[in-house]
């Protein structure tokens, strides 16, 4: 398997992947065939390799992209771009006659090539390497649906395709220039509009003599004319400079924090409250209530978010119609923010409810009884005993929930698409960093701009990593309490 993978990678010139495969292969073989000394590594190596592939690689690749101009107009390699620019500039020369072409071969279909050319007026020429000779109407012979002349076989497109390279190299000298094929059924005299000079690394327009120099992954003339396509080029930290971390970014970042923290606290508060209520001994029919409460969690959020969007519609939505109000749920910035939090609460509380129910059952009841014996009231017992013990169990989940909501693209995009809009800014009032990044990546001034979006992605990564690192240190404190 590794050998097959390697052959694919080498043929695609993916050297980084090939090296990585070889190294991991050697390490894995050494680990599992290397005897007793390597036993601990047997457990660690697979995880480490998967960590490298699925975590470190995307991060490294994002950082790399953020230093390039990768995006619409710059997604090829330089050699591909040079080839395409030259090839696309080939066209009919200004006064060229366009001919219908029938490819002929002398004698058998593998014989020497010739072109049977018919112009718009119906005049027929036989084109050979020596030049053109007129063909009288009487000389033309039918061969099925095709025409040919005595001594030649007309090639069908399959036969012509198999001799494609020869046909493309076949030129018929004529007074208007060399006639060559444009497709397998048309031909005319061509000119090359733009040529590349490798020595000076410039492109030159053969007609106007304009010279294009390399600049940031494109060929650009002195007057600013840019040749398409460009290629992926390394542009240093310029994408980071374009991010403008103070204005829009700061606004979006603050809302992202409010959204993520708000979602966690609200879902946790409601989930915990319900868990306590339903863990009460006096409650009847608990099972059915619990079942009903898991429903929002069990339904696909893609569907429910869209249903909520419909219900929030100001004129036609269910909510405003039944409430008899005209609340601009998704149309006014603060209402839209409240709506998102509301929907996320609805989607998220069952999870917190389940987690808290589990954690509450794990707390020994004798602790609480002891507290009551010591004279604690119900609330004090909860605050002093149950809640701290509960927090030990669920704090890591709260942090994970925060990290998840920090990047909760779905809810924002399905419910509001980041709207209402803030005019003159890329990000709307409810955009969080991840949806802002998505908008930059696909809706920038030049179409897609992966370079800039990657730069933003790196910043988001740093923020989330910092918050997570800080939080885990903080939760360790809880564990020490125990």
């Amino acid at each position: 398997m590794a050998i097959f993978g390697l052959s694919v990678m080498v043929s695609h010139h993916d050297w980084a992947f090939a090296v990585f495969t070889v190294v991991s292969l050697v390490v894995i073989d050494a680990t599992y065939l290397g005897g007793r000394r390597w036993i601990p590594a047997k457990y660690l190596i697979p995880g480490t390799i998967f960590l490298a592939i699925f975590v470190l690689y995307p991060v490294a690749y994002t950082v790399y992209n953020s230093l390039t101009n990768y995006g619409t107009g710059n997604n090829l390699s330089k050699s591909q771009a040079i080839e395409l620019i030259q090839r696309n500039s080939i066209g009919a020369s200004s006064n060229a006659v366009k001919y219908k072409l029938q490819v002929l071969a002398k004698g058998s279909p593998t014989g020497e090539l010739a072109f049977l050319l018919t112009d718009a007026q119906g005049n027929v020429l036989l084109g050979t390497k020596q030049g053109t000779t007129p063909v009288a109407a009487g000389q033309i012979v039918k061969q099925g649906i095709r025409s040919t002349i005595e001594g030649y076989t007309a090639l069908n497109l399959g036969q012509a395709t198999s001799r494609q390279t020869e046909i493309q190299a076949f030129k018929v000298p004529s007074p208007a220039g060399e006639i060559s094929n444009d497709s397998l059924t048309s031909a005319f005299a061509k000119t090359q509009g733009i040529t590349y000079d490798a020595a000076s690394n410039t492109m030159t327009d053969t007609a106007t003599k304009t010279v294009y120099h390399e600049q940031d992954g494109s060929f650009v003339s002195d007057s600013g004319q840019r040749l398409l396509p460009g290629w992926r080029a390394f542009i240093g930290t310029r994408n980071y400079g374009r991010l403008q971390l103070t204005g829009t970014f700061l606004r979006v970042f603050l809302w992202t924090l409010v959204f993520a923290i708000g979602s966690v606290l609200l879902t946790f508060a409601l989930g915990l409250f319900l868990a306590i209520v339903f863990s009460s001994e006096r409650m009847k029919g608990k099972r059915w209530y619990r079942l009903a409460m898991v429903i929002p969690y069990a339904l696909p959020s893609f569907m429910t978010a869209l249903v909520w969007r419909g219900m929030f519609n100001q004129t036609f939505g269910v909510l405003n119609r039944y409430l008899g109000t005209s609340i601009p749920w998704l149309n006014q910035p603060n209402w839209a923010r409240a709506s998102i939090l509301l929907v996320n609460l609805w989607l998220g509380f069952p999870y917190m409810f389940l987690v808290c129910t589990g954690a509450l059952q794990g707390i020994p009841s004798d602790l609480k009884e002891a507290a009551v014996v010591d004279g604690a009231t119900g609330f004090t017992a909860f605050r002093r005993i149950t809640f701290p013990l509960l927090l030990i169990a669920v704090a890591p989940l709260l942090i994970a929930s925060f990290a998840f909501n920090f990047n909760n693209f779905n809810i924002v995009y399905l419910l509001t698409e980041g709207r209402p809009a803030v005019q003159g800014s890329d990000a709307g009032s409810t955009d969080i960093l991840i949806s802002y990044m998505y908008k930059i990546a696909f809706g920038g001034g030049r179409g897609a701009d992966y370079g800039l979006a990657s730069a933003l992605g790196v910043i988001i990564f740093l923020i989330v990593a910092a918050i997570s690192a800080f939080s885990f240190r903080y939760t360790k404190m809880f564990e020490e309490v125990r």
């Binding site: 993916d14 992947f17 960590l51 699925f54 995307p58 991060v59 994002t62 619409t72 107009g73 997604n75 090829l76 395409l84 090839r87 696309n88 066209g91 366009k98 497109l157 012509a160 395709t161 494609q164 094929n181 444009d182 397998l184 059924t185 396509p229 979602s263 696909p300 893609f302 419909g310 519609n313 100001q314 939505g317 006014q332 998220g348 999870y351 890591p396 989940l397 994970a400 998840f404 909501n405 990047n407 693209f409 809810i411 809009a421 005019q423 003159g424 800014s425 990044m437 809706g443 920038g444 001034g445 030049r446 179409g447 897609a448 992966y450 992605g457 990564f461 989330v464 990593a465 939760t475």
Partner: protein, 437 residues
């Protein structure tokens, strides 16, 4: 190369989620990965670019065509006949319409991907910038002018057009028996019916917050245009037209229509199609897709309607322009059999019969003039065709994404009561800052 590209999009969105989740599960024993990943709200994204579409591979075919479901059905027999007559192996592969554009730019450089794609002309800006499509030399004198213009980018022809689609005014002939001559007539008839309580909404025009595509005829009534047009009808992307005097006048009109309730930001596609199909809206501005929708469409629901050009603002005024989308065949720049592909398009697809077959499958007006003449006895096709007469091709420049966004924002601002002049001036400023227009 292909693997790298496919990881690029995934890396963008997931790296942070993955990193955060991984640290979480790695350092907290007792939490199973399952609960961590599903934390709080939702399963991992599925419609975001994290799930990568994998296009079909070429196999040993000489000619590979990427087309969506409807087009594949028409092209399959054609490809088979072509293959038999010419001794080549042709495969029509089913690739969903929204995947064709992205995957052409990805698969092509790796030597995979199609020779021919079927797609919309407004992909051209991106495809040409990415060097993904090749210029084409075909005589299009037998085709509608707007279709030719649409497939011409930077002075070069890049495709063989086959169908034209655009929006038109659709009138409920029971509620409004006589065709209105001016937009003022439409406005009056619609508001009167609403005031009389006979309809739910006066004009079913899809906004769904705000929709510049559907609003374009209302915008161009005053003579405004999104970009200034060159003498040959192509756009000059350096001359943005959103803050010309005509455009600002349109913006004011729009504010008036919004405040008097003719246009409502809350009407989305679902409400538009439901209200008109159930006779609860006298007018709709929409395209053939809403008429022909198999389940909810106007035809399927049996409402009596007529398809007409959108009338001018006042009698003798400028005919409003709608955006025209043109579907066509394009050749991949990475094709190794481009000569064969060009011959297939110019000799086999470029015929009246194929164009009529494509019309039968898709129901969009043929771009080939002689084919259109054969089917214009169909009132709907004729109506949409007439509305498209004064149309402009949808701009194809890659920067259009940022134009749509800022333009939508301007309409949204007007809906929420902002000054229309300022809203459009702000949009123009924002767009110029990005594309330097």
């Amino acid at each position: 190369m292909r693997f790298r590209n496919s990881l690029a999009a995934a890396a963008l969105i997931t790296s942070m989620v993955a990193a955060a989740a991984a640290t979480a599960s790695a350092t907290t024993p007792g939490t199973t990965p399952g609960t961590t990943a599903g934390t709080a709200a939702a399963a991992p994204p599925a419609t975001t670019p994290t799930t990568e579409y994998v296009p079909p591979t070429r196999g040993d075919a000489d000619l590979v065509i990427w087309a969506d479901d409807t087009r594949k059905q028409v092209l399959d027999p054609l490809a088979e006949a072509f293959a038999k007559a010419e001794g080549v192996k042709v495969v029509v592969q089913l690739v969903p319409s929204d995947k064709i554009r992205d995957n052409l730019s990805k698969s092509g450089p790796a030597g995979e991907g199609p020779d021919i794609i079927v797609g919309a002309h407004d992909w051209l800006g991106e495809l040409v910038a990415n060097g993904a499509v090749a210029p084409l030399d075909i005589d299009l004198s037998g085709y509608a002018d707007v279709a030719k213009k649409a497939f011409t980018y930077d002075g070069k022809l890049y495709g063989l057009p086959y169908a034209i689609e655009n929006i038109a005014l659709i009138r409920n002939t029971d509620l409004v028996p006589d065709a209105p001559k001016t937009w003022a007539d439409v406005e009056k008839a619609a508001l009167d019916l609403k005031a009389a309580g006979k309809v739910d909404i006066p004009l079913a025009i899809q906004e769904g917050t705000a929709d510049p595509y559907h609003n374009y005829p209302l915008f161009t009534m005053t003579g405004a245009s999104v970009f200034a047009q060159n003498a040959d009808g192509t756009y000059d992307p350096t001359k943005l037209g959103l803050d010309t005097p005509e455009a600002l006048e349109s913006a004011k009109n729009f504010a008036k229509w919004s405040s008097e309730g003719l246009i409502n930001k809350d009407v989305n596609y679902d409400i538009m199609i439901e209200k008109f199909a159930s006779g609860k809206a006298p007018f709709a501005i929409t395209g053939p897709w809403a008429v022909n929708d198999a389940e909810r469409g106007f035809k399927a629901k049996g409402v009596k309607y007529a398809v007409e050009p959108i009338p001018p603002l006042t009698e003798g005024g400028k005919a409003p322009a709608v955006f025209v989308g043109v579907q066509g065949f394009m050749i991949s720049a990475f094709s190794k059999k481009a000569d064969l592909a060009k011959s297939f398009l110019s000799d086999y697809v470029n015929t009246e019969q194929v164009m009529l077959d494509l019309y039968k499958a898709g129901g969009r007006a043929p771009a080939m003039t002689s084919a259109f003449d054969k089917v214009k006895s169909d009132a709907d096709t004729a109506g949409f065709g007439a509305a498209g007469q004064s149309g402009q091709p949808m701009p194809a420049i890659p920067a259009m994404a940022s134009v749509w966004t800022a333009w939508t924002d301007a309409y949204t601002a007007i809906f929420s009561g902002s000054d229309p002049t300022k809203a459009f001036q702000d949009a123009a400023t924002a767009i110029r800052a990005k594309i330097g227009g």
